[in-house]
């Protein structure tokens, strides 16, 4: 049965995928940050808000809400922007040039990075590759969006690059 995006189950499934890919994440190095994701509906109200904790090479905490934690940063955006990113990842196996986390957040055009502490904000970049590969793991998840639709199927042997 498909899980829903956004939901706690979705991020728990990503945590499980990360456990399977532990060797890959070990090669990327220590990954010590706690950040939050916030998915907004069409009116800008939160559909889902969750906290993700990473320590050493693992995802050690997945919680709904912020529960008094002070995340290093919050990745926030409308469900449509998250969907566009997840569709690209699901179709191609990993984000393409238009849908990496840095590209989507750089000028806040699709997703925004909220933060109080610039040191916490910089963790998005200190662990950039680990965070990107964490979201890329969603390529292997069976999930549906709030309207019941599913992301596009995987396209084999497609180049993600191009000008």
């Amino acid at each position: 049965m498909s899980i829903s995006f956004p939901s706690l189950a979705f991020f728990e499934a990503l945590r499980d995928e990360m456990r399977v890919a532990r060797e890959r994440f070990s090669r990327l190095g220590f990954f010590d940050t706690t950040f939050a994701v916030r998915v907004l509906d069409a009116e800008g109200a939160p559909l889902f808000e969750g906290t993700l904790g990473f320590e050493v090479f693992d995802c050690v905490a997945v919680r709904e809400g912020l529960h008094g934690t002070e995340p290093d940063f919050v990745l926030e955006g409308p469900v449509g922007a998250w969907r566009e990113m997840l569709d690209a990842i699901h179709r191609l196996g990993a984000a393409d040039v238009a849908h990496s986390i840095n590209t989507l957040t750089h000028f806040g055009e699709a997703l925004q990075v909220r933060y109080d502490d610039p040191d916490g904000h910089d963790k998005l970049y200190r662990f950039a590759e680990s965070i990107q590969e964490y979201f890329d793991l969603s390529a292997g998840l069976d999930f549906v969006y709030p309207d019941g639709s599913a992301p596009p199927p995987r396209v084999e042997n497609v180049r993600r690059s191009g000008t």
Binding site: F30, D96, N102, T103, F107, A128, S161, G162
Partner: protein, 372 residues
């Protein structure tokens, strides 16, 4: 060969007699009786392994290290017994607050585990299969030329200071050694990418090189760190993020994500070092401001130089047609605003919120914002 031994050992009778006695089995063994602190450090977190923080115990640790290192003038590792006759190395930096940073050991451990390889971690085959259009390719090659220039001096600066720090600052020395390796890898990857685009290296930048000379020739480690780690690398970090944003291929995006990780770690050290200076050596605040006054002057000249700014515009606008240039200028302005905002945010977090009011760079950025 300017440093000569005060003893000609091959002709020193007492020394040769001692060697002969030991070879006959008549051992001295006085070193066994040195009074010392016996420790057996263990990992506090098995998943993380044995970290430098696990070694922060007693005389071996850094927590008990004094502000002024008067007792160790030699290569003796911190905590070792120091017999008479050790050389005075005349280290240039013997004051902890000139080099130390909060979470210093954490940055080092992170650096060690997050190393990567410019030869094997980049999908070179994929990159070589993509032909870049002439205008984009040349603009990209010019950006890579600029970055190659920057990273070479970013390697030289920590390497220059490495041997000039007191040996007791072991953790700092190791961190800046890891930084020198990071920056050397950055110089390597930008050179490799430039020479694989089909366009090669383009034009060196006079304005940029004067800025780099200023970084290299800082009068103290604290000034070098301020200008390199916090100001220059902070601005380059925003530039790497921008470069990832405008990268033409997924392989190039990965390249910039990997270099931005290293750069953000160096910026982290720079921030935590400046906070340490402001917290522990507040009389340096005015010196810090004076150094930033000139550093910002140089960086303004370098960042807005023709051969630096124009490739950004072309890459951001994705071409050289009028509409592309207009779009490129729009994005370039957003980038410069972001770069300035992030730099002043970091300084405020480090305890210098007044920097905005004092800075001519801030005033120029504000004028540019007002002008739209």
């Amino acid at each position: 060969m300017s440093y000569l031994a005060t003893t000609d050992f091959a002709n020193d009778g007492a020394f040769l007699d001692g060697v002969a006695r030991r070879l006959r089995g008549d051992l001295d063994l006085s070193w066994l009786d040195e009074p010392r602190e016996r420790v057996r450090c263990r990992p506090q977190n098995e998943r993380r392994g044995l970290t430098l923080r696990d070694l922060d115990v007693g005389r071996y640790g850094w927590s008990a290290m004094p502000e002024l290192i008067r007792q160790n003038r030699s290569f003796a590792p911190r905590g070792a017994e120091q017999p008479d006759g050790l050389p005075d190395l005349q280290a240039d930096v013997n004051r902890k607050s000139e080099v130390w940073a909060y979470n210093l050991d954490g940055y080092y451990e992170e650096a060690m585990t997050r190393q990567w390889n410019a030869t094997t971690d980049i999908p070179w085959g994929e990159l070589l299969a993509t032909d870049l259009p002439e205008d984009i390719g040349k603009a990209y090659a010019q950006l890579l030329t600029f970055l190659s220039e920057v990273e070479m001096i970013a390697t030289d600066v920590p390497a220059k200071w490495l041997g000039r720090l007191n040996a007791d600052f072991f953790e700092v020395k190791n961190f800046i050694a890891s930084q020198a390796m990071d920056e050397a890898r950055h110089a390597e990857i930008f050179r490799k990418r430039a020479l694989s685009t089909g366009f090669g290296l383009m034009r060196a930048s006079s304005h940029n090189e004067h800025n780099l000379k200023f970084l290299r020739d800082a009068d103290s480690f604290a000034e070098a760190s301020l200008a390199l780690h916090l100001q220059a690398e902070g601005m380059v970090l925003t530039l790497f993020r921008f470069s990832e944003y405008v990268s033409p291929t997924e392989g190039d995006k990965k390249l910039f994500r990997l270099v931005m990780q290293d750069e953000a770690r160096h910026v982290g050290y720079g921030m935590q070092h400046l906070k340490w200076v402001v917290d522990h050596f507040p009389e340096r605040r005015e010196t810090v401001h004076r150094h930033l006054d000139e550093a910002e002057n140089f960086v303004f000249g370098a960042g807005y130089a023709t051969e630096v700014m124009e490739p950004f515009i072309i890459l951001a606008g994705k071409g050289t047609k009028k509409a592309n240039i207009d779009e490129g200028i729009r994005i370039q302005k957003m980038f410069q605003t972001k770069q300035g905002d992030e730099y002043f945010e970091r300084l405020a977090k480090c305890g210098l919120p007044e920097r905005r009011e004092r800075s001519r760079l801030w005033k120029m950025l504000e004028l540019a914002k007002e002008a739209g």
